[in-house]
Amino acid sequence: MSDPLTLRVLFFSSARDIAGTSEISMPCSASITQPELRKKLSDQFFGLAPVLATARFARNHCYATPDECFVPGDEIALIPPVSGG
């Protein structure tokens, strides 16, 4: 049920606390690089820059490799350092 013209972006833990939301839908008509997405999120959410600096992106439930681009319909998650167990 993914929208073909948006990117779904999920926030967890400290990222969610700072963003004030657990999920956004971001207009996206073509592929987007990770630096581009970091810039957009940093511009949109005040205070998120420090989290973005240490968080990793996951794309469709897998960690994204550094050069991997995201495309409309993807489920992207911002993963701050984990602490399970």
Partner: protein, 126 residues
């Protein structure tokens, strides 16, 4: 290899999961990680865990498939939500022919869990 992964708010049992030990399983190793009464030097009564559940389950599966090649069966149960002090946050049960591969996998798994699996421990809300 048998792999079973469960992430839920249900309490974790001490036996982690019922297993049907095969007749070549000489080692049956169970690790229970419990919530301690002190977190970052401060007394607590509970912790709250959250997970990016589908990805966390994927990652745990992947770690097991990659690293437990000498084991025959691995069960991982992680509790999320509010967990009182003394209760089990994570249970891992490993069946393998000999103890060494089970112990080695447990160490690798717990290290990878704490770097790669999207589960977060949050202090109790004030």
């Amino acid at each position: 290899m048998v792999i079973a992964v469960h992430i839920s708010e249900a309490p974790v049992r001490e036996n982690v999961a019922p297993v049907s030990t095969g007749t070549e399983d000489g080692a049956d190793l169970i690790f229970l990680g419990r919530v301690r009464a002190t977190e970052a030097g401060l007394p607590i009564t509970h912790l709250v865990y959250e997970a990016y559940q589908p990805m966390a389950e994927n990652e745990i599966h992947r770690i097991i498939a990659e690293s437990a090649t000498e084991c025959r069966e691995v069960h991982v149960v992680h509790r999320i939500g509010t967990i009182p002090v003394g209760e089990i946050a994570i249970g891992v049960r490993i069946l393998s022919p000999h103890r060494r591969e089970a112990i080695r996998f447990l160490e690798i798994f717990m290290d990878r869990l704490k770097t790669d699996v999207p589960i977060w421990k949050m202090g109790p809300m004030p």
